[in-house]
Symmetry: C2
Subunit: 351 residues, 2 copies
């Protein structure tokens, strides 16, 4: 297979971890006789520094001309504490999602047996957890109208959803549930929000087309509790943009390290793959960032193109590295000095 | 001291647990020679059933004519799965908060030593945790304009904040931090939301008046993770309405049971005290609902009027009951059949 892949390393540890994912993809290409072509482009704070814009037109054009995007991370503290900054790295990511129509963010959360002890949660609570979160990614309060009054004393954000926006991701979530444990949990705040009541109505309607899948509902406050109290009760979680942002980061504690979690952002025409961790600027260039989330994003990319055997091989490599403790310091208590690129090398060699 | 207390038991297990709190307050009155007068009024689903309205005018008037309100719980599943219901129990609670100007919801979260093993989190993660959450309660997306298009296919909620709304709760949070560990963490999503950027700006300004308190910031997604990974890093958490709803329910897992957590909702003129757990309708009338959260709300009520010794005695009673395993089934693995009212009786006797 021939694939053109846009690589957007972004900020902070993004470049280091993405480099490992590319290394692994190259090994796969060689082993399975595929042709993967990689094209690099800037996004985020580095793009602002270079061009003044968080998502330069050339980067967007490149993304539109490729089959898939491998994304690193975005964000720089110099913008976080300046609430009046007009240009922000995050805008690059949000615009990319919107322009490419990446309306569904898919985040699998698994408790790896070898890592049960790393989690702040007790072993019996998490063992066997296997959740897949479907977060709506191009609507809601992220993209609704934002206002700041002229005197700067009143600010607002609009959370808006349409039936069409809810329907399309709902279908994806139910289809996924059909090949899993056949359960979808809608997380909302229908006892307070009008938009949540629309979600409940539309999702209930769509669910009629999937009689083999059970649908239930949880208010987001209760969901935030249940994910920790009893994560095994969940199969597919479906939710809107802001709740999904919170719930999926929260759920990352189950795995023991946010450095393990990959995600896919998909739409009808494009697909992007990225670790869920952020740019982690404190760790930049120290060689301590865990590349596994990025490497597993590469596996999700291969899955997306039906290259299941290839994806599986990457996952085996990851499990092997975890088992043998060839891991960065966030997971490693045994060996010192196993760097980001050493972990990448190990998985590359395995392939 | 003479206090007029409005008792609003509400729905589900509300009446059972509130009855124990009243029992305990009566014991305190007797022991310390206070006069507490209790007046009952309906709210929530029971009020809808009786009067057609979730917050009847007589109930609101009673609240305005008393010194403090003891609240039970609200909510009934028959309304949750009917997204088109015009009247909803929750409206009663929201209206009460708004009409009484209860703009700050204060939720202490502590890890009780005797209960460390009940938590889904590991002992070393939670031991010593002592957080106080300040959640804004009368603004934001809860109260912003709600719209549903005529064709029913577009719905929206507006999240709006003004400088004044942010300032008043920020002062409360900083004052509280001064008598604690002198740290306030603002939880927001300033990398995406205009309203969060206003929060960051205003809180930063107000913090100048409290040079002895350290201020830091966390994005809500990261906060949802940090609360589980390392809850001991927090002292006072300050946040807006919706984020506070999620984060504080999530934090309840630290204590091992949501049945232990009390809260105070205060404004410039009124104050209301309630357990943070909901109406838990499945448990109604079974005698299994944990009354401790409600009893601890009563202790917060006494604190509010400067009756610290009295409040402390209630807390000692609670700790004693936990230590001796005189607890409802959610906490009890040793004795069967210790009912809601038996726990109340024990703490009453202790006083
Ligand atoms: C960086 C930020 C804008 C982004 C989001 O909130 O969506 C991130 O937290 C994520 O989850 O991908
Ligand atoms: C019942 C509901 C409206 C309420 C809220 O969301 O504020 C509850 O969850 C709470 O936290 O007190």
């Amino acid at each position: 297979m021939k694939l053109k892949i846009a690589v957007l390393p972004g900020d902070g540890v993004g470049p280091e971890v993405t480099a490992q994912a590319v290394k692994v993809l190259k090994a796969i290409a060689q082993e399975f006789d595929h042709t993967f072509q990689f094209k690099y482009a800037p996004v985020g704070a580095v793009a602002i520094d270079e061009t003044g814009e968080p998502l330069p037109k050339t980067t967007l054009d490149l993304c539109k001309a490729t089959d898939a995007i491998l994304f690193g991370a975005i964000g720089d503290p110099k913008y976080d504490n300046d609430p009046s900054a007009k240009v922000r790295p995050e805008q690059g990511l949000l615009k990319l999602r919107k322009e490419l129509g990446l309306y569904a963010n898919i985040r699998p959360v698994k408790a790896y047996d070898t890592l049960l002890d790393k989690s702040p949660l007790k072993r019996h609570i998490i063992k066997g957890t296997d959740i897949c979160i479907y977060r709506e990614l191009t609507g809601g309060i992220y993209f609704g109208e934002k206002k700041l009054s002229d005197d700067g004393n009143t600010a607002s954000d609009l959370c808006e959803y349409t039936r069409a926006e809810i329907e399309r991701i709902t279908h994806l979530a139910f289809k996924s549930a059909q090949s899993r444990k056949r359960k979808v949990t809608l997380v909302d705040k229908a006892n307070v929000l009008e938009s949540s009541r629309l979600w409940r109505r539309v999702v209930t309607e769509v669910s009629q087309e999937y009689k083999d899948v059970k649908l239930d509902f949880l208010f987001v406050d209760n969901a935030a509790m249940q994910i920790i109290l009893n994560p095994k009760q969940f199969d597919v979680i479906l939710t809107e943009n802001m709740f999904g942002d919170i719930i999926s980061d929260e759920a990352s504690v189950i795995g023991g390290s946010i450095g393990l979690l990959a995600s896919a952002s998909v739409g009808d025409y494009f697909a992007m793959f990225e670790p869920i961790h952020g740019s982690y600027p404190q760790a930049k260039d120290l060689g301590i960032a865990n590349p596994i989330a990025s490497i597993l994003s590469a596996a999700m990319l291969l899955d997306h193109f039906g290259l299941f055997e290839e994806a599986e091989l990457i996952r085996e490599g990851v499990e092997r590295s975890l088992k043998l403790n060839i891991t960065t310091p966030d997971l490693n208590t045994k060996f010192n000095h196993i760097s980001t690129s050493k972990v990448g090398d190990f998985i590359e060699d395995f392939i």
